[in-house]
């Protein structure tokens, strides 16, 4: 077979993509497509799992029982998202053990945003509003991603995420309507999370060479800068409603270009955090490893018990 010739499998795959239809686990797919998806889906799963920690930090201290319930449900949802996404990755041949191992060993990436700490209760609001908000902008298009199990997982996840975002907004709203100390707490959290949230969309388009292939495969639908613009457009009226100031003095709507003008993003800190020198990188992995290792005897017990039960059932048959 000559190098540039298209096999029937390839032709069918290309055709499905061209018609914007779903690729399913039984379908043939190029290795690079599979690898890209496994990397992206497992990275997303790991972000959900690591992303539990910054918020779990406030479960025991939530300042009202209603907020405690909402926060518990949210962090628990993130565990659920991790499970959906692991399942989607498993349809591509990845195993949960391998993915977990890669995470704990520090070989797998997760969203860098979770390497920031959550020193105050207002961070629960800012994470919901800004981080989940940015995640939704990133993820809504993924509900139409070409790989079926991923797209379907994203539909469920996005539904819950938009709920989380509203809850984050409500936390901040309550704080901004509260005492001066609560208002300061809210503004401080927005100041700390605003730029990292904008950085969640990744580098500017002209420095993001890997995006093209993902867009061609209908995994990615919009460029980093397009999504960032959409996000800022969503934030501006909400910030007004909250009464918080977005920490960018240059931010304004540019009528002429039909988009928001903003200060240049300082990527220095982003790259520091990405390189493992953020405030919480070491702790996030340490704690995940600790939970995994402390749970080893439980998982072993469950496996051993299931094996004994299976033997007993076989022998009884």
């Amino acid at each position: 077979m000559a190098h540039n010739e298209t096999t029937p499998d390839e032709a069918q795959f290309d055709d499905l993509i061209a018609r914007d239809e779903r690729i399913e686990p039984r379908d043939w797919m190029p290795d690079a497509y599979r690898r890209t998806l496994v990397r992206q889906i497992s990275q997303h799963a790991h972000s959900e799992i690591i992303g539990m920690q910054p918020e779990a930090n406030w479960i025991t201290r939530a300042p009202s029982l209603k907020r405690k319930a909402i926060l518990m449900a949210k962090v628990q949802d993130e565990a659920g998202h991790g499970l959906y996404l692991y399942s989607a990755a498993q349809t591509l041949g990845a195993t949960r053990d391998d993915m977990t191992e890669a995470l704990i060993a520090g070989r797998a990436r997760y969203s860098s945003i979770f390497n920031y700490p959550t020193p105050t209760w207002a961070d629960m609001g800012a994470i919901g509003w800004l981080v989940d908000g940015a995640a939704i902008c990133n993820q809504v298009p993924l509900c139409r991603a070409s790989y079926g199990p991923y797209a379907r997982a994203m539909v469920r996840i996005c539904k819950e995420e938009s709920f989380h975002q509203r809850q984050g907004f409500e936390i901040l709203l309550e704080l901004m309507r509260g005492t001066p100390a609560q208002q300061r707490m809210a503004q401080d959290a927005v100041d700390r999370w605003y730029w990292p949230a904008l950085q969640m969309f990744g580098p500017p388009d002209d420095e993001s060479p890997n995006s093209a292939q993902s867009m061609a495969w209908n995994i990615k639908r919009f460029s980093n800068d397009e999504l960032r613009q959409r996000f800022v457009g969503m934030l501006v009226p909400q910030a007004e409603a909250l009464g918080v100031t977005l920490p960018d003095p240059e931010l304004r709507y540019d009528e002429a270009n039909g988009c928001y003008a903003m200060s240049p993003i300082d990527w220095t800190e982003f790259h520091e955090v990405l390189a493992g020198r953020g405030p919480m990188n070491a702790e996030r992995l340490r704690r995940r490893r600790e939970a995994h290792e402390n749970g080893a005897w439980v998982r072993e017990a469950a496996t051993a018990y299931a094996a004994k039960q299976a033997t007993a059932t076989r022998e009884a048959a």
Partner: protein, 245 residues
């Protein structure tokens, strides 16, 4: 009446303290499925606590949050069993088994309370607690029948928690004043013990025969770890008195 409020407070505090402790596991469980499962149970218990504290507060014009965040240790009414620290997963699971089986029998009977609010809360809670019993039972079977290590840890957990069962069946004077409204704790003893003994038996575990702890939570005397638990739970609310969240 204040007596009904005091009774609801005790049940509410049991649920609240247990929910608070289980909440710690979310993000730390042995597998993601258990982050979800323990989270669900914690949320159910927190729901029970909110209903009961809300009701308990109506007599004195206090909200659920007034009661949860602005009472001191000696004003809490939880029993020592739910105040036992999480320990390892075996301790948490065995604590869940003991507490859930007791709650199941209690709420089943409380449905017949002549107090309609308590009866309604019991009706709703009971169904959720059935799942809690099932979850804990399945895990006790797995842990006791799993590996040598898991069995050893489970035996230790049962031994360490068993002393705190006794307190659950004490008829303190309040109960005498709530005839037809409250469930008399001593009347739950036989059924609760029968179910626990059966579960331990199925798991091949012995019923402990060691010391018994006097407890005293319903009178405001608590296990030493409750103080630090409340310090953490209440710290933010108390730093901003009067604030709304």
């Amino acid at each position: 009446t204040p007596d009904v409020a005091e009774y609801a407070l005790g049940l509410g505090d049991d649920a609240l303290i247990l929910a608070q402790q289980l909440g710690w596991w979310i993000s730390r469980a042995p597998e993601l499925e258990e982050d979800v499962a323990l989270g669900n149970i914690a949320l159910d218990l927190l729901g029970h606590a909110r209903s009961l504290l809300h009701y308990a507060g109506t007599a004195s014009g206090r909200s659920e949050d007034d009661l949860a965040y602005f009472r001191d240790e000696s004003e809490f009414r939880s029993v020592w069993l739910v105040e036992q620290p999480n320990g390892d997963f075996a301790v948490t699971i065995v604590r869940q088994l003991l507490a859930s089986v007791y709650f199941a029998h209690l709420y089943d009977r409380l449905r017949q309370s002549s107090d309609p609010t308590l009866a309604a809360i019991a009706e709703k809670s009971r169904r959720e607690i059935e799942y809690h019993v099932d979850h804990a039972t399945q895990w006790v079977l797995r842990l006791a029948g799993g590996t040598e290590e898991s069995r050893r840890r489970t035996v230790t957990a049962v031994t360490d928690l068993w002393p705190y069962l006794d307190e659950l069946f004490v008829d303190h004077p309040l109960i005498d004043r709530l005839d037809g409204i409250a469930v008399r704790p001593s009347t739950l003893y036989a059924a609760t013990m029968a179910e626990l003994t059966a579960t331990l038996g199925e798991a091949g575990l012995e019923v402990p025969n060691g010391p018994i702890a006097a407890g005293g939570g319903r009178q405001g005397r608590h296990f030493p770890t409750l103080g630090p638990l409340l310090a953490e739970m209440q710290v933010l609310a108390r730093a901003h008195p009067g604030a709304s969240w």
